[in-house]
C-alpha cells in the first residue's frame, strides 16, 4: 500500500508535467479508440452490405464446389439440412440455390448468362435481392396460367438482349442427366444495375430450375448452395466450424464468408493493416511523450533511488516502483481517454458521419460512415496504451534499478 502511495505521490510531484503526459496519453487513447471505432464500424457496415448482397454469412456446398463449380456437385436432400439449420438459434434464414450457366436468347440475340434457381421467400429473407428489383414484380414460385415460369433478369443482360418486363426469355443449358435443357420464361422483373452483381444473372424459382436441369425436387431436393444468414456476422467462423463437425460425414463443406469471398476478405484485411500503420504512428508519438516524462522523472530522482537502495530496497523494488508509476499513469490516461472517446464513439455508432459523396457499392448506396462500440474498440487502445507505456518505461526503470547506490547518492 505504501509503495502504491509512493507511486501516486511521485506522479503528483510534478503535476503540470504529469497532467500534460496524461492528456497526451489520453489523447492517444481517444484517437486510437476513434480510429478503431470508425474502422471497425465501416468494415462491419461493408461486411453486412456485402454478405447481405448475395453471399450470406455462411455457405454450404458439396466438397470442392467453390474451387471447381460443377452442375453435378449437388447437396442432396437439402430440405433436411435446411430444417436442421433452421433449428439453430443463431440462424435467421437459409436460402437454397442452384447455379446453371446457360445461353440466354431474346429478340434475335444470345448471351451467356448465369441462371440461378432460388426460393423467392427464403432469398428475400437472406439477401437484398428483392430490394434490387428496379422494374416489375419480384419473383413468384409457381407458373402462370399459361404454364410459363417467371424469371428476373439482370440489368445488363436485359439491355444486351433488348428485353424488358413481359418479354419471353429462352434459356438453353445442359441438364444434370446429360439432356439438353431449354425452356421459355416470362420476364417479370429487371434487377440491379450496370455495376451490380446481378447484372448478367437470370433468377428463376428453385422448382423451375430443378425442372429445367432435370434435378431432384421434394424430399430428394438437389441444390448447389445453401446461403445462411446469422444474427451477427461475427459468429460466422464459429458457426461454420460447429456445423462442419455436425455434417462431418456428408462430404459437405461449411464455410464462412471469409473463405467464400476470400479475395474480398484478404483485400479488406490488407486495408485494415494500412489503418494499423496510422494507429502505430499515434502510439509512437504518444510513447515518445511518455518516455520523456518517465526519463525526466527518473533522472530527477536518481538520488532518491540511491537512498532507497542504500536503506535496503532491492534493484527489483526500484524497477517495480517505476513500472508501477507508469502503470498508474497509463490507467488514469485510459480512464481519461475512455471518458473522452466513449460518447463520441456512441454518437458515431448511432448517427455516423454523412459522406460528402455517397459511394455506390454494387447498387447499394453507402452514404454514412458509421462507428462501432464494442469491447474490441475499447480494450485494444487500453491494452496498447498500457503496454506501450510499460515498454517505454522499461529502459528508465532498468537504469534506475541497475545504478550503484553510491553513484546515485552522489548525483546532483
Amino acid at each position: 500500500m505504501l509503495t502504491l502511495t509512493l507511486a501516486f505521490r511521485n506522479i503528483l510531484r510534478n503535476r503540470r508535467r504529469s497532467l500534460l503526459t496524461l492528456l497526451s496519453m489520453g489523447g492517444g487513447f481517444f484517437l486510437l479508440c476513434l480510429t478503431l471505432s470508425m474502422s471497425e464500424g465501416s468494415y462491419s457496415n461493408i461486411i453486412n452490405i456485402f454478405t447481405q448482397d448475395h453471399t450470406g454469412h455462411v455457405q454450404i456446398h458439396k466438397e470442392n464446389y467453390l474451387e471447381r463449380p460443377s452442375l453435378y456437385k449437388t447437396i442432396n436432400q437439402s430440405n433436411a439440412i435446411i430444417e436442421k439449420l433452421e433449428q439453430q438459434s443463431s440462424v435467421l434464414s437459409v436460402a437454397p440455390r442452384i447455379y446453371g450457366p446457360s445461353l440466354a436468347y431474346g429478340k434475335n440475340k444470345t448471351f451467356p448468362a448465369q441462371v440461378i434457381g432460388i426460393e423467392p421467400d427464403r432469398e428475400a429473407n437472406t439477401t437484398r435481392l428483392k430490394s434490387k428489383v428496379k422494374q416489375g414484380e419480384y419473383l413468384t414460385d409457381g407458373a402462370n396460367n399459361d404454364g410459363y415460369y417467371s424469371a428476373m433478369i439482370g440489368y445488363s443482360l436485359a439491355k444486351n438482349l433488348k428485353l424488358t418486363v413481359g418479354d419471353e426469355l429462352v434459356l438453353i443449358s445442359q441438364g444434370i442427366d446429360g439432356s439438353i435443357a431449354n425452356d421459355i420464361f416470362i420476364i417479370t422483373a429487371l434487377v440491379g444495375d450496370a455495376s451490380s452483381y446481378e447484372r448478367m444473372n437470370v433468377y428463376i424459382s428453385l422448382t423451375a430450375m430443378q425442372m429445367f436441369l432435370s434435378m431432384q425436387s421434394g424430399e430428394q431436393s438437389q441444390v448447389h448452395e445453401l446461403a445462411i444468414k446469422l444474427s451477427h456476422q461475427g459468429e460466422a467462423r464459429a458457426f461454420a466450424m460447429n456445423m462442419q463437425i455436425q455434417l462431418e460425414n456428408s462430404l459437405l463443406r461449411v464455410e464462412p464468408w471469409q473463405v467464400v469471398e476470400s479475395s474480398f476478405f484478404n483485400s479488406m484485411q490488407a486495408d485494415k493493416k494500412g489503418s494499423y500503420v496510422s494507429m502505430g504512428i499515434i502510439i509512437f508519438i504518444v510513447s515518445i511523450g511518455v518516455l520523456n516524462t518517465i526519463l525526466m522523472g527518473t533522472l530527477e530522482r536518481t538520488r532518491e533511488f540511491g537512498v532507497l537502495k542504500a536503506i535496503g530496497a532491492r534493484p527489483t523494488a526500484v524497477f517495480y516502483l517505476i513500472m508501477l508509476e507508469s502503470f498508474v499513469l497509463a490507467i488514469i490516461a485510459c480512464v481519461i481517454g475512455l471518458i473522452l472517446s466513449l460518447p463520441v464513439c456512441i454518437w458515431l455508432a448511432s448517427s455516423g458521419i454523412p459522406m460528402p459523396e455517397p459511394i455506390d457499392m454494387g447498387g447499394i448506396i453507402f452514404d454514412t460512415m458509421l462507428g462501432e462500440v464494442s469491447w474490441f474498440v475499447v480494450l485494444l487502445p487500453t491494452v496498447v496504451v498500457i503496454l506501450s507505456t510499460l515498454l517505454v518505461s522499461f529502459i528508465p526503470a532498468m537504469r534506475a534499478a541497475k545504478i550503484s547506490p553510491l553513484k546515485a547518492l552522489q548525483a546532483v
Partner: protein, 249 residues
C-alpha cells in the same frame, strides 16, 4: 581490540583492550583505488579495523583522507579493490547487488549529511518504508514508528513531509529511519554538517543517549569537534591510511 595500520613507510600496530565482546565490523587489508595508471588514486590502503557492539566511534581526518570511502565500504555501498569487510561475521565484499540490498536492509542503518529523506513521504512513512521492505506487519510497524518518533522527539510531527520540517527535525527522522530496522550498526556520514551548532549538539546528545540506552553501535565520519567530544573512540585517517586509534576512558 586490535588496530593494524600500514603506511608507505612503516607498519604501525596499536593494541588496545576493549570491554565489548561481540565484533560487529572487521575489515581485513581493505583497499580502495580509483582510476588507473598515472591517475591511480589510493583512497584507502590496507585498513584493518575491528569495531565491537555498542561503540560510539568517530572516523576523522582531513578532506580526501578516505573517511567516507571507509564508511561506504563498511556500509556495502561500494566494493573494495582488495581486502574484505566482515559485518556480523559475514563477508560482504563479494555479495551480489540483491544480497547487499537485503544485508543493508537488515544490518545497517544510514544517516546522511543531506538527510536524504523521500520528499513525497511523510516523516512517519519515511521511517516505516524500510520495515515494509522487511515485511514487518502493519501493527508492528505502527508500534515501532510511534516508539521511535517519541525517542527522537518528533511526536506530533509524523504527518509532515520533509519540506515542512527543519533541518534538525529532518535529521532526527533520518536517525529514526536508520534505527527502525534494528540494525547491527548505524553509519553516519557528516550528520551534523548541515545543522547549526545547537541543533547538531542536540542531535548528537540524542544519538549518544540511544547508544547508551539501546547499546546501538554508531560509526561517524566527521570533521565536527562536537562528535569528537562525544565519541568514545576516534580513528584518524590520513591519505587513506589509519594512523591513529584512540579510545577514551
Amino acid at each position: 581490540m586490535t588496530i593494524t595500520t600500514q603506511t608507505d613507510t612503516a607498519h604501525k600496530v596499536i593494541n588496545m583492550t576493549t570491554k565489548s565482546e561481540e565484533t560487529v565490523i572487521e575489515t581485513k587489508q581493505l583497499c580502495r583505488e580509483f582510476g588507473q595508471g598515472d591517475t591511480l588514486v589510493k583512497a584507502l590502503s590496507d585498513a584493518n579495523i575491528t569495531i565491537e557492539r555498542g561503540e560510539f566511534t568517530a572516523i576523522i581526518g582531513p578532506s580526501g583522507s578516505g573517511k567516507s570511502t571507509l564508511l561506504q565500504l563498511i556500509g556495502g555501498l561500494d566494493n573494495p579493490s582488495s581486502g574484505d569487510v566482515f559485518l556480523d561475521k559475514k563477508n560482504i565484499s563479494h555479495m551480489t547487488g540483491t544480497e547487499l540490498s537485503d544485508f543493508r536492509r537488515d544490518h545497517i542503518g544510514f544517516i546522511f549529511q543531506a538527510y536524504n529523506l523521500i520528499p513525497v513521504l511523510s516523516a512517519r512513512e519515511n521511517i516505516e518504508y524500510i520495515m515494509l521492505l522487511q515485511g514487518v506487519s502493519a501493527s508492528e510497524r505502527k508500534k515501532r514508528v510511534d516508539m521511535l518518533m517519541h525517542a527522537v522527539g518528533l511526536e506530533g510531527l509524523g504527518d509532515r513531509r520533509p519540506a515542512e520540517l527543519s533541518g534538525g527535525q529532518q535529521q532526527r527522522v533520518a536517525v529514526a529511519r536508520a534505527m527502525v530496522s534494528k540494525p547491527s550498526i548505524i553509519l553516519a556520514d557528516e550528520p551534523t554538517a548541515n545543522l547549526d551548532s545547537k541543533t547538531g549538539a542536540d542531535l548528537l546528545d540524542m544519538m549518544k543517549d540511544l547508544n547508551e540506552q539501546q547499546n546501538m553501535t554508531f560509526v561517524f565520519s566527521t570533521h565536527d569537534p562536537k562528535i569528537m567530544e562525544r565519541a568514545r573512540r576516534i580513528i584518524r585517517l590520513v591519505d587513506g591510511c589509519v594512523v591513529d586509534d584512540e579510545r577514551k576512558a
